[in-house]
């Protein structure tokens, strides 16, 4: 794909992920450019989440999981001996399907990442927390109760907190694994607005099963089906004139 002025941040070449003998992502080739929002769609079990979790090597936590082929972030091969997973995850933020704030105060939730990466100065931390919460459009709602337990927030607020938590370590790329699937419509639209605002500052990779959402928030869309990347292109084009029959069937709701 060619986008003027945008270099490719994430590049997969014949990249596969296996769970035991089962190939969940099959020889995928994709180049994701910097600074845009890329949506990954497809029916459940198509490997879209697996692909997403491969980017910050979250799949390492599953014992039977291994990867083949090449996946590069900013030119650096991710699946190679001696790669520092900790530093990789610092550069790749992630927001999960279900909000998962730590059972700590709001402040400590946001400060968690900076703290483990060595920021100890209290005022610097406070600045970071405020900036992150503002970017996640949560600051006004919680600025008076930063010491309260994050578990007391509503589901939508919790998810924005998790987004702020991910932003606080200043990642290059943000992964979102169906970030709005557990939320009510109003919270969902807030998250979508946020994605719109964060576009440009971060490269965002979002997995969603909600086609309208993909159409609304993304610049590019990739369609996965049974582990294969079927089609990848500009969102407007994918949703109006899909090149593949399977994409068209899925988008028009004939299966999935």
């Amino acid at each position: 794909m060619d986008f003027p002025g945008k270099k490719d941040l994430l590049k997969a070449e014949s990249f596969s992920v296996f769970y035991g003998d089962n190939e969940a992502v099959r020889k995928v080739d994709i180049e994701i450019p910097e600074g845009l929002v890329t949506a990954i769609i497809g029916p459940s079990g198509c490997g879209k989440s697996t692909f997403l979790r491969a980017v910050n090597r979250m799949n390492d936590l599953i014992p039977s999981c291994r990867a083949g082929g090449s996946l590069r972030l900013d030119g650096q091969e991710l699946y190679t001996q001696g790669l520092d997973v900790v530093m990789l995850r610092k550069q790749v933020g992630m927001v999960f399907q279900k909000p998962n704030p730590f059972p700590k105060s709001i402040f400590d939730n946001i400060a968690f990442g900076p703290r483990i990466h060595g920021v100890r100065d209290r005022s610097k931390l406070a600045g970071l927390v405020e900036k992150s919460l503002q970017q996640a459009a949560l600051w006004d709602e919680v600025k008076d109760r930063l010491g309260d337990n994050a578990m007391g927030l509503s589901g939508g607020q919790q998810q924005r907190l998790c987004l702020a938590r991910a932003i606080a370590v200043n990642p290059k790329i943000l992964l979102m694994d169906e970030p709005a699937s557990a939320l009510d419509p109003r919270s969902t639209s807030k998250i979508e607005d946020l994605i719109e605002e964060l576009k440009g500052k971060y490269t965002i990779l979002i997995v969603t099963h909600n086609m309208q959402q993909a159409a609304r928030v993304s610049d590019l869309t990739a369609f996965f089906y049974e582990g294969d990347l079927i089609e990848f292109g500009e969102t407007s084009q994918i949703f109006t004139k899909p090149g593949e029959k399977q994409t068209e069937d899925y988008i028009t709701g004939r299966f999935g």
Binding site: D84, V86, I116
Partner: protein
């Protein structure tokens, strides 16, 4: 912190975690190793000719002719020892009073030790205690005794800053220059011929009664007592436990009463075992008078209370694990609730309930504190079934304590103590193993 430091900390944390696990495994090994190694020696050991003589006379076992032959050979080997002793006695008689005074007490001590080692001499007066009738029956004990004959133990207090150090001097030095000096060499070199040790398998250790306060014989009364107590406690605990579990799983809601009941069950599980013992004494014996004093019955009831919470919890879990579909299918066929529980749910939950019962059985078999005041005595005969209602019994856990702390010759019957410990541990671990295997089968079945 720098990434390198963080990684280092991560790795050290992991290794500390492994260390904790290894520590636990080592604790188990260090605990079990002496119990298994030394416990087996109660069953398999080198029995001397004295052992075979004891076995024939006390239990009527063994080949009388072979024993007579062995004894003759042994006596032949012992002859030099007795000859030396006799000649020294002559020497003492003939020599002056000073010589006599110098050696009298040392000599009689030596004679006593040799009697303990080889048994009373032929023609000596018959002893009343069985243990005095024979020399060392176990070759390992005989070697220890021999060491006592050869060396005198004393304490060295020359270093006044610390405790006295134990030192050993050869006993031969006491008798330097006398005819008896030769004796020690003879004993040391010919001990094997004098005692004729043979590998012996004594599986009847489990089923023999003890002779002379566990000096000889086995542990049957204790075994039987433990079986009575553990099975007796189950007779009370299982019906109570299962019915309570049925109530909690099938009938009770989330009301105040049920939550109170659950609190009570967990509190009961937390009551120290010795308090159960006191309660058993104060309630079952002194108030209810289920028996006039300690009895297996009172002990079983006390133990039943102790294991009740375990059985309730595990049975409830087993009942709740029965798939909902079973229940609904049975009810939809028009079966009543009781019928459903009795014919559908309980059979399905039975393996799980059985698992908990087996584990509780092991727990009841091993508990000591609750039976001290309610059921256990140190010495006793194996009980008949109906005597359990009124009579106390010896039991493995109590007698392990008793023999290890209060027996008059603690060191000499170590093998019996270890044998009891080994038997108890083997019993309990086998029960647990059964439970583990059973549980593995259930989970396999539930997974389909």
């Amino acid at each position: 912190m720098e990434v390198g430091t963080r990684k280092l900390l991560d790795r050290s944390f992991t290794s500390v975690g492994f260390f904790a696990i290894i520590l636990m495994g080592m604790a188990l090994l260090i605990l079990l190793q002496p119990i298994i190694v030394r416990g087996l020696k109660a069953f398999i050991f080198r029995g001397t000719v004295e052992y075979r003589e004891m076995s024939l006379e006390q239990f009527g076992r063994g080949n009388a002719e072979a024993l007579a032959r062995d004894l003759d050979e042994a006596l032949e080997a012992r002859k030099p020892v007795y000859d030396i002793l006799d000649s020294f006695e002559e020497e003492m008689k003939e020599s002056g009073p000073e010589f006599r005074r110098q050696y009298r007490s040392d000599f009689s001590e030596l004679k006593g030790l040799i009697t303990e080692l080889l048994g009373p001499r032929e023609g000596a007066k018959e002893k009343a205690l069985i243990r005095k009738k024979y020399g060392q029956t176990r070759y390992d004990r005989a070697l220890i005794k021999l060491h006592q004959v050869l060396f005198v133990e004393g304490y060295d207090y020359s270093d006044t800053s610390g405790m006295g150090k134990s030192i050993e001097t050869p006993r031969a030095e006491l008798f330097a220059g006398t005819t008896i000096e030769r004796l020690f060499g003879v004993l040391e070199s010919d001990i094997e011929k004098m005692l004729k040790p043979k590998m012996t398998l004594y599986w009847r250790f489990l089923f023999d009664e003890s002779k002379d306060a566990h000096f000889f014989g086995g542990i049957w009364p204790e075994m039987l007592g433990t079986l009575y107590l553990s099975i007796g406690s189950m007779i009370f605990a299982i019906p109570l436990g299962i019915i309570t579990a049925i109530y909690l799983a099938e009938y009770a809601g989330h009301g105040k009463f049920v939550s109170l009941l659950r609190t009570c069950i967990s509190s009961l599980a937390g009551v120290p075992s010795i308090v159960f013992g006191l309660f058993g004494l104060a309630f079952f014996i002194n108030t209810m008078h289920v028996s006039s004093s300690k009895s297996v019955l009172a002990g079983s009831m006390t133990l039943a209370l102790l294991v009740l919470p375990t059985i309730i919890r595990a049975s409830e879990e087993a009942i709740l694990a029965v798939p909902r579909g079973y229940r609904e299918a049975s009810m939809s066929l028009g079966a009543g609730k009781w019928f459903t529980i009795a014919r559908v749910i309980l059979p399905a939950a039975l393996p799980g309930i059985l698992t908990s019962t087996i584990i509780s059985l092991g727990r009841a078999a091993g508990e000591t504190a609750p039976i001290i005041f309610t059921a256990a005595v140190s010495v006793g005969k194996p009980l008949g079934l109906f005597e359990t209602l009124s009579q106390p019994t010896p039991a493995l856990p109590w007698n392990i304590y008793n023999l290890a702390t209060e027996h008059e010759a603690v060191d000499e019957i170590r093998h019996v103590q270890y044998g009891m410990v080994f038997t108890l541990v083997a019993m309990v671990l086998l029960l647990n193993l059964t439970a583990i295997l059973l549980r593995a089968r259930i989970t396999k079945k539930l997974r389909g």
